[in-house]
Symmetry: C2
């Protein structure tokens, strides 16, 4: 089994393990273009990245992979519509030399931070204008990049929209909508417990543990290769049905990808269509996006709502700006204002505190989690969507800032980058607010 497990997890960090972080590779030496991954026709044998042999998720290969998921896996499109892309006003500001104090107490600059967090692309918007936009390595404006768990925030948002429309009852049991999971951990959880991840389910998210259920999940959904002898579940739904209850529902926040996958199933049942189609109708076409987004699909065509979405950076920035503006963008109310306000208000901080996140600014201490969004409860009212390896939609309402960031950090857990990233984000907010 070892051979088919992605090797990336070697430097994954469970919450709290940050102090023991291993030495990281020199970012500049891992540039996927300089390294020649998948270049040439054909690429040299030792420069080929494949899904089946697990190389797609080794470091530094993953620096290429994250911008090329569809070339490795079946995907379904989130149509961008056929109109003119919405205008993103430009007002360039040179942030590269902006200085701040890093998590070790040393002086660093914005440009340093981008490199040290293995950034693939970043857009900073201030008061609706793009003040900074840059791409690195294998990334490009037209290439969709894996958003990992930023996906969850899209699913949570769509669920919250269905609640607002009166189509989804947050107090109903999950099994009301999906009777198939009645005997699983989800049988007696409510939709709201699912949306806020306070479900008691035996499921480990520890990427560094090869026996963690997150790998069973990935194999079932076709997101990790399986050996010839594999006889586990072959799609997300069959996997979800196997999960057992552990502890009580509604008592403590516990971040588990399976919850988002379960919520995506509920959303499909209620909407009567794939989440890719719902997202296109409700959000993507209306934002004036430039490009389709897409989801990885499992063997029966079901999108990964837990972490399978890829999208372009500009479109992700448009989405973030819409959330900053209370759901209004491109001349129309896209997400009901009440939905955005409910998310910004946050969830139950006491429940969240039980997850005992380390005291790293921006990582989770003092936070809550609402409809699959991270809510800081800090004095800027920062809330965000985040995915492993450094994917981020960061919204600072007080400073009128939105930051969209794609990365290919060797450490899966965002504990690997948030200590540096969020100090830089705060410095940008302070600088632009002057």
């Amino acid at each position: 089994m070892k051979k088919v497990l992605p090797a990336l997890a070697i430097v994954s960090l469970a919450a709290g393990a940050y102090a023991q972080a291993p030495a990281l590779p020199n970012p500049a030496a891992t540039d996927p273009v300089a390294l020649g991954w998948m270049q040439g026709s054909p690429p040299a044998p030792d420069k080929i990245i494949r899904f089946e042999d697990g190389s797609f998720y080794r470091f530094p290969q993953l620096r290429w992979t994250f911008s090329h998921i569809r070339e490795l896996r079946p995907t379904i499109s989130v149509w961008h519509g056929n109109g003119t892309p919405s205008i993103m006003p430009q007002a360039a500001v040179d942030l590269d030399s902006l200085a701040f104090t890093d998590d070790k107490g040393a002086q660093a600059t914005w440009a340093d931070m981008l490199q040290r967090t293995y950034t693939d692309g970043v857009i900073v918007m201030h008061k609706g204008r793009v003040v900074y936009e840059k791409y690195f390595g294998a990334a490009a404006p037209q290439l969709q990049h894996s958003a990992f768990s930023v996906t969850k925030s899209f699913i949570g948002l769509m669920a919250a929209m269905l609640v607002e429309e009166g189509k989804l009852d947050p107090n109903a049991l999950v099994s009301k909508y999906v009777p198939e999971v009645k005997e699983s951990a989800y049988g007696d959880a409510t939709v709201r417990q699912l949306m806020d991840m306070t479900v008691g389910v035996r499921y480990s998210e520890n990427y560094a543990d090869q026996k963690a259920e997150v790998w069973d999940y990935a194999r079932a959904g076709g997101m990790a290769p399986v050996p010839a002898s594999y006889n586990g579940p072959k799609n997300f739904y069959d996997f979800l049905g196997t999960l057992k209850k552990e502890g009580q529902h509604g008592e403590a926040f516990a971040y588990k990808t399976s919850n988002a996958e379960m919520l995506a199933w509920v959303v499909r049942r209620v909407a009567g269509k794939p989440v890719s189609e719902l997202m296109s109708e409700k959000i993507w076409r209306r934002l004036g996006t430039e490009n389709d987004a897409y989801f990885q699909v499992d063997s029966i065509g079901v999108e990964s709502g837990g972490g399978g979405m890829s999208l372009t950076l500009r479109d992700m920035a448009r989405f973030g700006e819409m959330m900053r503006l209370g759901g209004k963008y491109n001349g129309q109310q896209i997400v009901p204002k009440a939905v955005v306000e409910d998310i910004r208000k946050g969830g139950d901080q006491a429940n969240f505190a039980k997850a005992a996140y380390p005291d790293v600014p921006g990582y989770g201490k003092g936070y809550s989690y609402r409809s699959m969004w991270w809510v800081s409860h800090n004095d800027h009212g920062v809330f965000d969507a985040r995915g492993i390896h450094g994917q981020r939609v960061y919204i600072d309402p007080a400073a009128e800032i939105v930051i969209a960031k794609f990365s290919s950090h060797p450490v899966a857990s965002n504990l690997g980058n948030i200590p540096l990233t969020d100090r830089a984000f705060a410095a940008v907010a302070a600088f632009l607010s002057k």
Copy 2:
């Protein structure tokens, strides 16, 4: 082996076998939406279509598949750009009741023809205006549909553009650009022989023969499932290197998908980039397309230049209109006029005649093949791009007509539909020219 071979081929017809065509299924009874393929969350077990078990290419399942290739296979995008789509002026004409005499001497209407040829989508343009546009079954304006060998005409066109730019020498040997195939059938063929398919290579295109090399090709490129015991070539390039010479080059037209795949390799070498990227730069972005096109890719990320492209119908119509207008569209010269004129002038008719195509109007008698386009040499100067199961870009310069058509006909060979389709196309031309 039988199990992993797509079952569709059962009703495939080799050239000349049309007279023995089996009775065809009732088109209305094979509507993929009415049949419920891949609907529901999850779809019912007997409504699931997969690549691995070959169901994707059985009839009637393929009526769903052709609009959903990317959900089954890895693909690479042909970026549509980020501008405003070019305007397609509308001037609707009701063609449904337009009558013509079918190939059996019976009266038929345009609407009959669409149904009897298992049409998924059709656009008729006259003098630059869309006079008719319709979608059926699983197809939709925003869904890319498999174009099969229409792909070849895009590759041939890009090769001809590189020739016009002086970057590709049509008289040079293929092995000048791709030394890897020196020992294969392609070693001593010229680029022009490749472009016009007059290469002597042992390769059977007979879909009905399970031992035909077209299936080896598909397996190598990941376009057909392989058994666990498979130990043949695992990508297009390795497959191409195995092909043996048969007969002489330059003497007779012989339609072989391997030639287009080989030409795509030459184009990549000369352009120094993937054909998907070249196509985006040279054609797709400049046309003002609405959507990305995409190519299926093999296990090392190489696009199928032989038949792996999918695109939306409107964008295919734009492309056809550009070809009708001598390469000019969307306010600019996209393909050099000389390139389009060379294609319209056609290739060597005597060489083509040796392939002994049956005397079916529109199918090949009297035709030539130039830079991977079919040239009729008829009094309207009709030329076209075509793919199995009824994919078509049909250009009638005299009548100022372009017809883009997607279909999911149970018969792979276009002998299954051209006898009916092209009589209807001629009737439309006559009607609109009145």
